[in-house]
Symmetry: C2
Subunit: 440 residues, 2 copies
């Protein structure tokens, strides 16, 4: 035998034990179900892309993080998000798709960044996007957070708030105070307000050559607080005449009204004028989502509207709006905060246990009956002592053990042991199926 | 604007349009559901592994096909199957898992081989494996094909046959005729019988130094035909005294009996003594699955028993048995053979259409009612003519359009248009939900 290799995975990667994988999959399935209910179509783009195509737009940090390699003559790379592949896909299949094109994709993406707590190099993103041709109704800006509201409601994790803003409000405001050229810089700095605090933001803005007077105005804007309607009122009352600013306020106003019409409760969303989203390509509505009691998680679901998704691949202007749940990261944070409790180590509802190999025939037939009734069923095939067999069931947390001894076999019956209540009932296999299926 | 990059994916990769993705996901979900019903636990290992760990065992062809790259100090590789990651995982988490450990994994694997028709460089494998510590009951050998029987039954694709054999039958037989040292070579050649025919196999065996007398005996073995019981009888009657051979025949006999007890119909399985499976590590039962009317597809689901899964990572002997559906390849073959017909381009059941923007409020409220009833619902938000709106519904094949005009809005009603029957009913939103949910 050759020398043993230590079994391990690279650092910065998440891999789960089965009991956690069950919880993870439940969350994944819930998100998918809600996405489908809102009319999004499934997509599963390739994990590996041509570097030339994938990196058409990228640069800077993104490009450094990418897993890139050659194979034969091909310069390849792993996708680092699901948005660039979507842009490539809709450009490639423009003629075959129906627009507005609504798709979801829930897949792993890869970023070889320096691993930090809660950051992974391979992680699931759960994205929805809607892509229009030439134009895309503002109503979609209201639908996105409503989808996310239902996702988080059904995930049933913790209280949450979807925050929204509009880049035109900020952009127009900066234009109005003569800082148009600095908009991107200033937005990037403001975006850090929650993380680094007002003092540090002020320092960075001064460094960037912003006058104290303008910094004051900026803080007056981002300090506007109150109910959603109060915020909208205050924005309108600022007396800023810039057209972009007015358009942004009007859009924000309409989005809020439409969200209400779509049934979004007031307690689950708020306008937050400090949200800019670091990414350059957002041009209108932007979103973040926080768990109220866990601000340290940061935003667990973010997105926004972009004027032209496919500029690098197609001449058709395709505006879009998208939002993304960082599932791997959120799962890891929730687990660490003790918010995820594995209630089971298995999906199995019934373990069929023959007392000895003489009852194997009856055991196999009973398993078939239970499975036919759609009950996830396992059979203990190993020839071990009774103690061992019961230990297998209790270690996995299987709720029902279906015992078959000599007596039961003779009577054509089975003994159903309820592992939580420690009761035992002797019934036929069919009755056992009904009994187990009845209690979930 | 910079020069456009042509949107495309590398050759040898599969990517689907939404209508096909819906079909693909349905198959994926069916396989997963059956796997779970048989008590397999979900696993999702990392896509990227450390090369040193992943390639502990590999060599030759596999190593050439691998996507391998460095990032920082790390020598990394993409998994090329789900079995090696499983071996690594069970060795790594031995103390935390309950054995026998039953897991399923349905994930993409990556092989940079020369692309051929029906072969992909990135494809889904849908694996189940059961891993024991030190020992693993022979009953699992019967359970595996029964799981696969239920999968293919529920996929409802075409008639299929699961073929099985036992490596000990072949191995013992070769030992019996003095060809023990050549077993692997001869098995590899025999494995090609169906593909290249008897004449070419004979030539290869002669080339390999096998005597004509032994070739004759080999063909006598692999020509044994008949019902499963007849084949077993003939094997027992061959008069071969080798112990391994006898063990193999006895195992095959027991597996067949147990498969019957587990409810496997005779028409869906057959002993096939020509099946050897190319891989060196199978040591007992081996499986292949064919679609009866599409032999050119080759095996769509294969696997077998191996004596020691984890030899490279752990001193504990862990025998296992596994089987795998090559979903991407099978999907592509089925599609090409015209066996997959997209019955829908969308999962959406209802499209809410306001006649003008005046009815947007009612449209949004109606959509909420339908979604609350779990009906996948879309709203046509774009301000277009009626013709455009109906075209969107018909191009996607949405079965119900829920129209809201001035009159309907006034009455607090909606007009439900059944797109297949071209009928129209004016009802409340709640009644519309009941109507649409009632007909699937």
């Amino acid at each position: 035998m050759s020398k043993l290799v230590e079994p391990r995975i690279p650092t910065g990667f998440m891999e789960l034990l089965p009991q956690d994988q069950i919880l993870f999959n439940r969350m994944y399935d819930t998100i998918r179900r809600v996405y489908e209910r809102f009319g999004f179509l499934p997509l599963d783009t390739t994990t590996i892309e041509l570097s030339e195509v994938l990196l058409a737009k990228a640069g800077g940090e993104t490009e450094k993080q990418i897993y890139r390699f050659t194979k034969g003559d091909h310069d390849l790379a792993l996708r680092f998000d699901l948005t660039v592949p979507l842009a490539r896909y809709v450009s490639q299949h423009q003629q075959e798709l129906v627009f507005p094109f609504k798709r979801y994709q829930m897949s792993k993406v890869f970023r070889g960044e320096r691993p930090q707590k809660g950051r992974f190099r391979e992680f699931y993103q759960c994205d929805i996007d809607i892509i229009g041709q030439d134009e895309l109704s503002l109503f979609y800006d209201a639908e996105m957070p409503v989808v996310i509201y239902h996702v988080f409601k059904e995930l049933d994790l913790a209280a949450f708030t979807i925050r929204l803003n509009n880049r035109k409000v900020l952009g127009g405001f900066f234009k109005g105070i003569g800082l148009e050229d600095k908009t991107t810089d200033v937005l990037r700095i403001i975006d850090k307000l929650e993380k680094i605090g007002r003092e540090n933001v002020t320092a960075e803005l001064l460094d960037d050559g912003i006058s104290e007077e303008n910094i004051d105005k900026i803080f007056r804007l981002v300090s506007i607080k109150g109910s959603n309607d109060e915020i909208l009122e205050q924005l309108k009352g600022l007396g800023i005449e810039d057209e972009t600013f007015k358009e942004g306020v009007s859009e924000l106003d309409q989005v809020v009204s439409n969200m209400r019409l779509l049934g979004m409760p007031e307690e689950n969303f708020e306008i937050d004028l400090t949200i800019a989203r670091g990414l350059d390509y957002y041009t209108g509505t932007v979103y973040e989502t926080r768990l109220n009691d866990y601000p340290q998680f940061g935003s667990v679901c973010s997105g926004g509207r972009y004027e032209n998704l496919t500029g690098f691949y197609s001449k058709t202007k395709m505006p879009g709006i998208g939002i993304s749940i960082g599932l791997t990261r959120m799962f890891s944070q929730l687990k660490e905060a003790g918010l995820l409790k594995a209630d089971t180590k298995t999906l199995v509802k019934a373990l069929v246990v023959p007392m000895s190999s003489d009852q194997m025939k009856e055991a196999l037939q009973t398993a078939s009956v239970l499975r036919q009734a759609q009950i996830p069923t396992d059979v203990y095939y190993q020839q071990k002592g009774m103690k061992q067999k019961m230990k297998y069931a209790s270690r996995l947390g299987i709720p029902y053990v279906v015992l078959i001894g000599e007596d039961e076999a003779k009577q054509g019956k089975v003994a159903v042991k309820d592992m939580t209540e420690s009761t035992q009932t002797v019934v036929t296999a069919l009755e056992a199926a009904r009994l187990i299926a009845g209690k979930k």
